[in-house]
């Protein structure tokens, strides 16, 4: 029973490894959708429209990337939407109300996000609250706090023209910088998830938390870190959405978490944990935006847009389950 070197594996075998297939499917669905709309809906197939789709995906793409980490561990984060609003308000307070330099404001947003994430993580890891409950509670806390510290008043960034100037300008291929920010964030997330201990433990926790704990890993500490990373992305999303409106709006945010989770799930992240990918999530986010904008351009009334988006989410997850079952 002697073994020698690592046996070679065929390329095909690697490609057919389950996870990649789901990503390919999502990508395929996206391309199909784009082709469909381009062919059937007048005016859809134009550079400006494609750029609009990219722009519309920026906020959700960042939020969904962050929430992917958490879902892979088998948890969930319902506070990403209102958390995003909170961080944008914090940035507004720092950069506008307090008049501090803009970079400090950006840092403050990220820090505020990390704070929210850490609190979530601590509630879940130490106080043993189920993630659903803990993040639901933080949803309301951040919603309220955003309004409290801003006195229910939007904060405008007119005094800091560099803000929108940087994020919304289009120096590269005519695409607003927020899109590059989203992609950059996704790249960093990919590295974290696939090439670092943080990522390895994220998958391990989601696959079998008890086994991970028994293997000597400090599960509680890592959970807090992972939720904090999610929080950093919440902060980044706060920056992105504030730059689109050139203001921090304490009134919006609730509801954005649903799009974020939907994007992750469509992209192949399993709600039961242990599986997921950044690439899949970004594809999922694009899919949702494409669908919405395509239907908008086609003139479909609002109500139908929601119905169709919901059906797509159901369909995507169902297809994934079928595929897994047939593989068994």
């Amino acid at each position: 029973m002697q073994t020698t070197t690592l046996p070679a594996r065929s390329r095909v075998q690697s490609i057919l490894r389950g996870d990649s297939i789901q990503r390919l499917l999502a990508l395929g669905a996206l391309l199909l959708l784009l082709a469909f709309f381009s062919a059937v809906v007048p005016h859809f197939a134009s550079t400006n429209n494609y750029i609009d789709i990219l722009t519309a995906t920026a906020v959700n793409g960042v939020l969904a990337t962050g929430v992917t980490f958490v879902i892979i561990t088998g948890g969930i984060d319902l506070s990403v939407g209102t958390g995003m609003t909170f961080t944008s308000v914090v940035m507004g307070i720092v950069a506008v109300n307090l008049g501090l330099p803009l970079p400090l404001g950006l840092l403050a947003a990220l820090a505020a996000g990390a704070l929210v994430g850490s609190i979530n993580g601590a509630l879940i890891a130490k106080a043993k609250l189920p993630p659903f409950i803990a993040t639901l509670g933080m949803l309301y806390v951040t919603l309220g706090m955003a309004q409290v510290i801003s006195d229910v008043h939007p904060i405008y960034f007119d005094q800091q023209p560099a803000f929108q100037g940087f994020f919304m300008s289009k120096p590269i291929v005519g695409i607003p910088n927020i899109v590059w920010v989203m992609l950059g964030g996704a790249a960093i997330a990919w590295i974290l998830l696939n090439k670092t201990i943080l990522g390895r433990y994220t998958f391990a926790l989601g696959s079998n938390e008890e086994a991970t704990r028994l293997s000597g890993v400090n599960v509680d500490r890592w959970k807090i870190i992972i939720y904090a990373v999610d929080g950093l992305f919440i902060g980044l999303a706060g920056i992105v959405i504030a730059s689109r409106m050139n203001s921090a709006q304490p009134g919006l945010g609730m509801g954005y978490e649903l799009d974020a989770i939907a994007a992750a799930v469509i992209g192949g992240t399993s709600l039961s944990g242990g599986e997921g990918s950044v690439v899949g999530t970004i594809i999922g986010a694009f899919l949702i935006s494409t669908l919405r904008i395509g239907l908008s351009v086609a003139g479909i009334p609002d109500q139908w847009k929601s119905v169709i988006t919901g059906l797509v989410v159901i369909g995507a997850v169902w297809l994934d389950i079928l595929r897994r079952r047939s593989r068994a």
Binding site: V40, V41, P42, H43, F44, S46, N48, N49, D52, T55, A56, V59, L143, Q147, V152, H153, P154, Y156, D158, M168, P176, I241, R244, M245, N246, S247, Q249, G251, L252, M254, R292, I293, L295, S296, V297, A298, G299, I300, P301, D302, W304, V307, I308, L311, V312, G315, W318, L319, L322, R323, S326
Partner: protein
């Protein structure tokens, strides 16, 4: 194999949905025949005194020291903060106590009803209410009536016979004025888009219908696209506006029926580089709109008198408590403002930031 069956099913239902949607979308819901008091050609403003023959009280009388509960539609926009200021200042002046609250967003019908319920259980002397959904509030209003608590409607008011009066802007007339300005700015011909905040509140319904009716009645060469709804969320409204621009490259103008909607339009114009190329007309004020009108990016807007709405509804409440008869509507007036008159004192008085 099973997978192909599912895929074709999904594709099939999507196509079906698209077809159905397209069909229903094109047959635009004809707006309810609005009894728009025919506005004369492009009035600059409707003076606050025109419709209401109403004299506010100078003394609280029986209402002194009593509590008036005010439930508004939300706190999302500065508009509501201005209403609040007007109400609370007037209450302080008259020596009555006023409480003011509203749900976080204008789509939370249920939350607003809960607030109303709570307010009623504290037995206020009167209630001022701006319904997110008039019909849904029916039972609670009846409850108020049975308890002899007078109900004053404001802003959207309440579509019911129970309120003793409604303190509001004549939104139908105001929207018609907006339509007139839009028409003259685009040369009475072309395609325009409308972005509204919702379809269930009085303001949403009347502003949309007022605009559409005026266009249909007087400007046959103007094509109005089916109205789109952005829930007053500036980001969502921006994306919708961009989609409309994509679908209609020859679009000439946008009407945003509330502050959030027009903010979305302005953002969309900025992002697509169409500032100045498409006529934008909005509603209410707010810092962003004020700046946009001053710079010329926005052609103009209809401003209500939020402070007036707030103070008059407290006035009406006091009168109701004292048993005075009240007119059915108290019109707090609206004004059209643009670059030319934005700095006039009477306009400045009703703008809010």
């Amino acid at each position: 194999m099973k997978l192909t069956r599912i895929t074709s099913l999904a594709a099939g239902s999507m196509t079906l949905a698209l077809v159905v949607g397209a069909c229903s979308g094109s047959a635009t819901t004809a707006p309810a025949a609005s009894t728009a008091p025919a506005s004369a050609a492009a009035p600059a403003s409707s003076a606050a005194g025109a419709a209401s023959a109403y004299t506010p009280p100078t003394d609280a009388g029986k209402a002194k020291g009593k509590t008036i509960a005010i439930i508004s539609k939300g706190e999302q926009h500065q508009f509501w903060q201005a209403v609040k200021k007007g109400a609370l200042d007037e209450a302080a002046k008259l020596g009555v106590t006023a409480t003011y609250q509203g749900p976080a967003t204008e789509s939370e019908v249920d939350k607003q009803l809960t607030m109303l319920q709570t307010a009623l259980s504290n037995s206020p002397a009167a209630v001022c209410f701006a319904a997110l959904d008039s019909k849904a509030a029916g039972a609670l209003l009846q409850q108020a009536k049975d308890a002899n608590i007078p109900v004053i409607g404001f802003d959207s008011g309440v579509d019911s016979t129970i309120p003793v009066t409604t303190v509001a802007t004549d939104n139908t007339a105001a929207a018609a004025v907006a339509a007139d300005h839009m028409a003259s700015l685009i040369g009475n011909a072309g395609t325009v888009g409308v972005i509204v905040h919702d379809q269930t509140s009085q303001t949403g319904i009347t502003r949309r219908d007022g605009f559409l009716a005026q266009m249909a009645a007087k400007y046959p060469n103007i094509k109005v696209l089916p109205p789109q709804y952005g829930a007053g969320d500036a980001v969502k409204s921006a994306d919708i506006a961009k989609a409309m621009m994509t679908a209609n490259p020859d679009l000439k103008g946008f009407f945003g029926a509330n502050e959030g909607s027009i903010k979305g339009v302005l953002n969309a114009l900025k992002e697509t580089g169409n500032e100045g190329k498409i006529v934008a007309i909005g509603y209410d004020s707010g810092q962003q709109q004020i700046d946009a009108i001053t710079s010329g990016v926005e052609a103009g807007a209809i401003t209500q008198n939020p402070i007036g709405i707030g103070s008059k509804c407290v006035d009406a409440a006091v009168d109701a408590i004292n048993g005075k008869a009240l007119p059915e509507k108290i019109d707090t007036g609206f004004s059209w403002f643009d670059k030319t008159n934005i700095n006039n004192p009477e306009i400045q008085a009703v703008l809010y930031k």
